[in-house]
């Protein structure tokens, strides 16, 4: 079990940005777009077979040609000031068939990612994920931040369009971040790295749909560009955003009127946190959301 490096460039104080799939695939889309925007090059990967079940077999002429696994790749980019390391995981390693990693495998993977960070002199790690929020899909998603120390929190407060997790929706001082996008920050803290997790807001009623939510990735990307000093094309995800918004709008029109009104109320008065969906309405959404999205997709 280990890390395979394709090359070993000398990097100058790189920051690392890490993303795994999760709600709305916000983290992984963010980091992959950052990879494309910066033209980052492959650096290495983590041997996958100890973590994952394979996702493809290729047989040619009756002979096993290859077996493929979910990828876990590192990339790097030399920049003017601080260089950049990226890690993109195609799946979260799960010990019990769950979507989110936990337990020994998750801890092992988090440590392997940080081993690479350490090897190249990185001291700061950003992870990215989803913040399920009482927001509206037509509103600009904010970015919630948590960090491993107060100095970083103060820095994060200065980022554009960013709020600290405790300030968002009056959540109070306690919360949690499920899966590796969260766990990595904990392991980073244990190992003495600086770590910030940036979470793009996704409306609560979209948190279970099997679609990406690129508007939130766009918001996180904007913050990362600012924090890292990397110019990012603000239109980088526009076509995906437009496509998904079409699907969401289609589905939203099929919500019961009272649910729609309540959600629309969120747009009118952001400050007072109106439009909390009742338990009954939430049940309705859970029961119907997959069906509505299938119909919405066909309607495209």
């Amino acid at each position: 079990m280990g890390i395979r490096l394709f090359n070993e460039p000398k990097l100058h104080q790189p920051d690392m940005v890490v993303g795994w799939p999760g709600i709305g695939n916000i983290g992984v889309i963010t980091v992959d777009t950052l990879r494309q925007e910066t033209g980052a090059e492959p650096l290495g990967d983590i041997e996958p077979w100890d973590f994952f079940y394979p996702n493809k077999v290729v047989i040619r002429g009756g002979v096993l040609e290859k077996l493929e696994f979910p990828s876990n790749k590192f990339y790097y980019k030399r920049l003017e000031d601080r260089d950049l390391l990226l890690f993109i995981g195609e799946e979260q390693p799960s010990e019990r068939g769950r979507m989110y990693a936990e337990g020994g495998k998750a801890y092992e993977m988090a440590n392997l990612v940080l081993d690479v960070a350490e090897k190249f002199g990185c001291r700061r790690v950003y992870t990215s994920g989803a913040a399920v929020a009482l927001t509206h899909h037509e509103m600009r998603p904010r970015v919630w931040a948590v960090a491993t120390d107060d100095r970083l929190l103060a820095e994060a407060k200065g980022y554009i369009n960013t709020v600290l997790m405790s300030e968002a929706e009056g959540r109070g001082d306690f919360g949690n971040i499920t899966g590796l996008n969260g766990l990595l920050t904990g392991v980073a803290r244990k190992r003495g790295f600086e770590a910030i997790c940036l979470m793009g807001e996704i409306p609560d009623y979209l948190s279970r749909v099997p679609f990406p939510y690129p508007r939130a990735s766009q918001a996180v990307l904007e913050v990362l560009g600012f924090a890292l000093g990397v110019p990012i094309d603000p239109k980088a995800l526009d076509s995906m955003v437009t496509q998904i918004e079409g699907v969401i709008s289609n589905v939203f029109r099929q919500f019961p009127q009272e649910v729609r009104e309540k959600i629309d109320q969120r747009k009118r008065d952001v400050q007072t946190r109106p439009g909390i969906i009742t338990d009954e309405e939430e049940r309705w959404l859970k029961e119907h959301i997959d069906d509505l999205f299938q119909r919405g997709e066909k309607g495209q």
Partner: protein, 276 residues
């Protein structure tokens, strides 16, 4: 070896062949074949893998009022220099699990080659001859197995959203350890996936019998296959729908939507009623 691998005895083997099977494949083919070999060759259990690291042990499953529990067990047939392995498919830590199997096979048993037994669901009728093919770990083994007529030019890629079989994973893991082997596959008629398919079982055993020189008389499987055919004939006589659907399959006509499901359900129920 310590840890999850537990030996209960140390049989003397030279350079045996390993035949491995997982439970829960169509028609229970893997277990039928390996059970048959254990029974006919007097296979003795000598080693097992403890389940705790590889299976979700949050309770037990019940099948026909019988408690089921994950088992992963090796049997030795020293006279025929054969090792058999039967297991419930692990639910996680697959690669580690396979490495334990391969460690027992290579480091303790000095296995020279292996075969896994698996089935797949076929859309053809039970009255058609069973097909049989293999996917192999190397071109050399493919050539070696050519005289047995089972190495077809299979080309396959897992479709998007699908996952490879555990047998493919095992073949790959074994190749990494330089253990040559093949996955043996027999397509089983879709309406027999919940029962036994002695014709499919015989197809695999015929190959193993020849390849490994086991000297087995397999005529009892012909009897079982005939008995199953007769039972299905009786079902066809009592159910015009079943007869019509099977006739369609025999005439290479496709079934309409819902007919396949109905055929499978009726055959399964009626076979079970006959058994009761």
């Amino acid at each position: 070896m310590t840890g999850p691998v537990q030996f209960s005895s140390r049989p003397e083997l030279r350079n045996p062949t390993l035949v491995a099977a997982w439970s829960m494949d169509a028609a229970g083919l893997g277990l039928s074949v390996t059970d048959y070999l254990v029974g006919k060759l007097g296979g003795q259990p000598f080693c097992h893998i403890e389940p705790v690291d590889f299976f979700a042990l949050g309770g037990v499953t019940i099948d026909n009022d019988l408690v089921q529990f994950p088992e992963s067990r090796f049997y030795a047939c020293p006279e025929k220099d054969l090792v058999l392995f039967q297991s419930t498919p692990p639910s996680h830590e697959w690669y580690r699990f396979m490495n334990l199997v391969l460690e027992v096979a290579r480091d303790y048993c000095h296995v020279r080659e292996f075969y896994t037994v698996g089935s797949m669901v076929a859309l053809g009728p039970h009255s058609a001859p069973r097909q049989f093919f293999a996917t192999v770990s190397s071109r050399e083994l493919k050539e070696e197995l050519a005289p047995y007529g089972l190495t077809r030019e299979v080309n396959y890629e897992t479709p998007p959203g699908g996952r490879p079989t555990l047998n493919s994973f095992f073949l790959w893991a074994a190749r990494r350890r330089n253990i040559p082997g093949a996955n043996l596959w027999v397509p089983v008629p879709f309406y027999l996936v919940s029962s036994d398919d002695p014709a499919a079982c015989k197809k695999v055993l015929e190959f193993l019998n020849h390849r490994l020189g086991l000297g087995l008389d397999l005529s009892d499987l012909d009897e079982e296959a005939r008995a199953l055919d007769e039972r299905i004939d009786r079902i066809r006589a009592s159910s015009p729908d079943v007869d019509r659907y099977i006739r369609k399959l025999e005439n290479n006509e496709g079934l309409a939507e819902g007919e396949g499901e109905k055929l499978a359900k009726e055959v399964e129920e009626l076979l079970r009623e006959e058994e009761d």
